[in-house]
Point group: C2
Chain length 193, copies 2
């Protein structure tokens, strides 16, 4: 595994989130002196028949519990662009992502947002990697017996790892989640990711 903390050996704990109203993947990843360790990873699955408020509440409650239990230094979550091809999907993801952002804000934990294609490229060399490719990449990087499943978990581990590397390298500084000026180019790239 490549070095993940160029500056020293102080541990960094990142909670990666792949938000979704049906399935939200999460992963608590410790990074220390070049070594990465998955502390816990899994999914939050709000009741499918519940209304939007109830599903947001389920994500909010579970995430708040994870923040309290694991006390990550940062939460890492995918940036959300306005996918012209899938506007409805993007809107539903915004509700899930909003529950995450609100829980982080209320817990006082900084949020790092990364473009999904950056995370895919960092793990596989391909910014448009398929879900299966991401699962296999995470299996390989962490030496797991099987690929993390469902893919939401692999994506959560990937974004935690990617954010941790960038924070260690000083590329990301604290919360940078404004979602106010998405780059046109990135938006287009994201639409196929």
């Amino acid at each position: 595994m490549p070095a993940m903390d160029r500056t020293g050996t102080s541990p960094m704990r990142i909670l990666g989130i792949d938000p979704g109203l049906n399935t939200t993947g999460y992963a608590v990843v410790d990074l220390c002196g070049g070594a990465g360790r998955i502390v816990e990873a899994g999914t939050i699955r709000p009741p499918r028949q519940a209304d939007l408020g109830a599903r947001m509440e389920a994500i909010h409650v579970e995430l708040s519990a994870l923040l309290g239990e694991h006390k990550p230094s940062h939460v890492a979550v995918e940036q959300l662009y306005s996918h012209a091809s899938y506007p409805r999907t993007a809107i539903l993801m915004a509700y899930a992502r909003g529950a995450v952002l609100l829980a982080c804000r209320q817990a006082g934990v900084g949020v790092v947002s990364l473009p999904p294609n950056m995370v895919k490229k960092a793990l596989t060399g391909n910014g448009h990697a398929a879900k299966r490719q991401m699962q296999l990449a995470i299996q390989s990087v962490f030496g797991l017996e099987a690929p993390p499943s469902p893919p939401d978990v692999a994506d959560a581990i990937a974004i935690a790892l990617c954010a941790g590397k960038r924070l260690s390298a000083g590329v990301l500084l604290g919360s940078a989640d404004r979602d106010r000026r998405p780059m046109r180019r990135a938006a287009r790239a994201g639409a196929t990711a």
Copy 2:
């Protein structure tokens, strides 16, 4: 003013919300035996420079306070369709709307969602009424000295009134906010609203 409570004189208190990350309009409206009264109306204005989480938190905090203070029987909020022409606007509105839905869920208050063009049509006879037209309609209906301003306040009063009328008439029954199957036709109509 037309009758707003066909079934009797028991008062009904509705909190209408026009959600937005920059400006969220709200209005507490009492409906009783055909008469409507604006108890309180105004705006929630999250700090413009704040990140998404902080702006959602501002809406969540203020709305939770309004729910606690006024104890409405229902909250009424516009349905959000995937506006193909304005996907970014729709996504930002989803964050604001999500903060509203979550606060209502946590307070145990049912949410009623109405299509924006239904509200406009009920007030002005035109499902595509301009903001100014809505302000003047609300001024007329409630006999106000001046049109409610900004337009977000007029829209919040309008949706509270419209939801109250429909609840009184037994058209709406409790929470119906799933946002899962938007009608194609309504989505297109909403895109120009």
